[in-house]
């Protein structure tokens, strides 16, 4: 077994530099790599490009990096929950590339799987298609989208082992598996690092080959963005 375990978040983020491109898993605040984000704030790396479906909220998630003006460019599908984001974007401080959510996921998977490009119908006839190749297949129009390129992918899983195998939980899975192996170095933080051989090989969501470093995360807040309930 090839061991991927590192001692802590600092070791996990070794090599992170200004100007790099990062992928960050999560949907809203669900399944975000909280430890990696905190460490990026602590390290104070600047001029970064973040590929992440959302941009967090003002005081949590990627919002923490926005507060410190560490982000130069965001590549996301939906950023509607963050006032500071909207302010920086409309003022021109922040460069923003909005990408359809399914295209965002597939551009990650293309990078993971060695596909340079793929055709998708999403965005045909819209701003998203501008400057991109358009082609008809079987009477329907598609646009050509290219794989992402990133230096680090930061993902959050539920359980993991020393081999880097990952299991996600509920809808905290979202973009996390798609980003594993889609960057030069994939860093996985897990709620529970289990002894080797404990995970059923049949139930692993992401095989360790897609992960370079894994560590036991801590102090997860797992903040809920929209607490909605019904009465019994």
């Amino acid at each position: 077994m090839i061991r991927k375990t590192v001692a802590n978040v600092t070791d996990a983020l070794a090599g992170v530099k200004d100007g790099m491109t990062f992928m960050l898993g999560g949907f809203g605040l669900c399944g975000i790599p909280e430890n990696a984000i905190s460490e990026l704030v602590r390290l104070g790396v600047n001029d970064i490009t973040c590929i992440s479906n959302n941009a967090g909220v003002d005081d949590f998630g990627l919002g923490l990096l926005l507060q410190q003006h560490q982000i130069k460019k965001m590549i996301s599908s939906y950023v509607g929950e963050n006032d500071e984001f909207e302010r920086q974007m409309l003022s021109g401080e922040l460069e923003v590339e909005l990408t359809p959510q399914g295209t965002l996921a597939e551009k990650c998977r293309a990078a993971q799987g060695g596909f340079p490009a793929f055709f998708t119908p999403a965005g045909y006839g819209t701003e998203v298609a501008e400057g991109k190749e358009v082609r008809e297949f079987n009477g329907k129009m598609y646009i050509l989208e290219e794989a992402f390129k990133a230096d680090f992918a930061f993902v959050k899983a539920w359980k993991g082992d020393a081999a880097g195998n990952l299991i996600f939980k509920g809808t905290a899975r979202n973009f996390n598996p798609c980003m594993c192996g889609a960057a030069t170095i994939t860093v996985a933080e897990v709620e529970e690092l289990v002894p080797e051989g404990e995970l059923d090989p049949n139930q692993i969501h992401i095989p360790g080959i897609f992960v370079q470093r894994i560590f036991q995360g801590k102090d997860y807040e797992k903040r809920i963005e929209q607490r909605t309930v019904r009465q019994k």
Partner: protein
């Protein structure tokens, strides 16, 4: 005239037995509350769940279980979780039977705009562009006019598009309309709303054929 729940209630009538349905944020989310319980339907949320259930009972919320609107939810028996690429494989691959979403503007040719007001508001398209480019059966839930009373059913969208020629049906607070090659065909009036009122609130070409019945909800 319908309120948001009324719109949701009317749209719920469009949901058929055996449908997989994707509900957008806002009014569409309410549709789940009104689907007949003698048919089998599964709700897909593009963040990665099929077989979405109602909101959790107070105290049983799980931070790892939300819908695309970031609301806490539950999972029904037979549910499954999956990653975002798989989720959009369901959508792009036409495995989802019905998509219900909101709109800022719809044009008489079926174009839709719902993600951006240049210079003012940019929330992003989320999964909407994938949904409208892929789904064969799209129903838009929206108010017929904006706060200034201006029509949102237009000859041509003024805002950046989300998708082209994709909307099939629209349910507003005033009416049910079908998008045809000649424009908006008026199918039903909301209770107490006249054809003239609907005409006045519709900028795009409105087609009225014979008597237009009031919807029953």
């Amino acid at each position: 005239m319908l309120d948001k729940n009324g719109i949701a209630k009317r749209i719920a009538q469009e949901v058929e037995d055996g449908y997989y349905v994707n509900l957008g944020i806002g009014i569409p989310t309410l549709v789940a509350n009104y689907v007949r319980d003698d048919i089998s339907v599964e709700f897909q949320s593009e963040n990665g769940i099929l077989g979405m259930g109602p909101f959790p009972i107070d105290g049983e919320e799980d931070a790892d279980l939300i819908n695309a609107g970031k609301q806490t939810i539950t999972a029904l028996p037979g549910a499954s979780y999956f990653d975002s690429a798989t989720s959009f494989a369901m959508i792009r691959g036409k495995h989802v039977d019905l998509t219900i979403l909101g709109a800022m503007e719809v044009a008489e040719n079926g174009d839709i705009a719902n993600w951006k007001i240049p210079g003012k508001m940019v929330k992003g398209m989320g999964g909407a562009m994938d949904l409208v480019a892929s789904a064969e059966n799209i129903i838009v839930a929206m108010m017929h006019t904006n706060r200034e009373g201006e029509s949102k059913l237009l000859k041509k969208c003024s805002l950046p598009l989300t998708g082209v020629g994709c909307v099939k049906k629209i349910v507003t607070n005033l009416a049910v309309l079908e998008v045809t090659k000649d424009g908006f065909l008026l199918l039903e009036r909301a209770p107490g709303v006249s054809v003239e009122e609907i005409k006045a609130a519709t900028e795009g070409n409105l087609i009225v054929k014979g008597e237009v019945l009031e919807m029953s909800i």
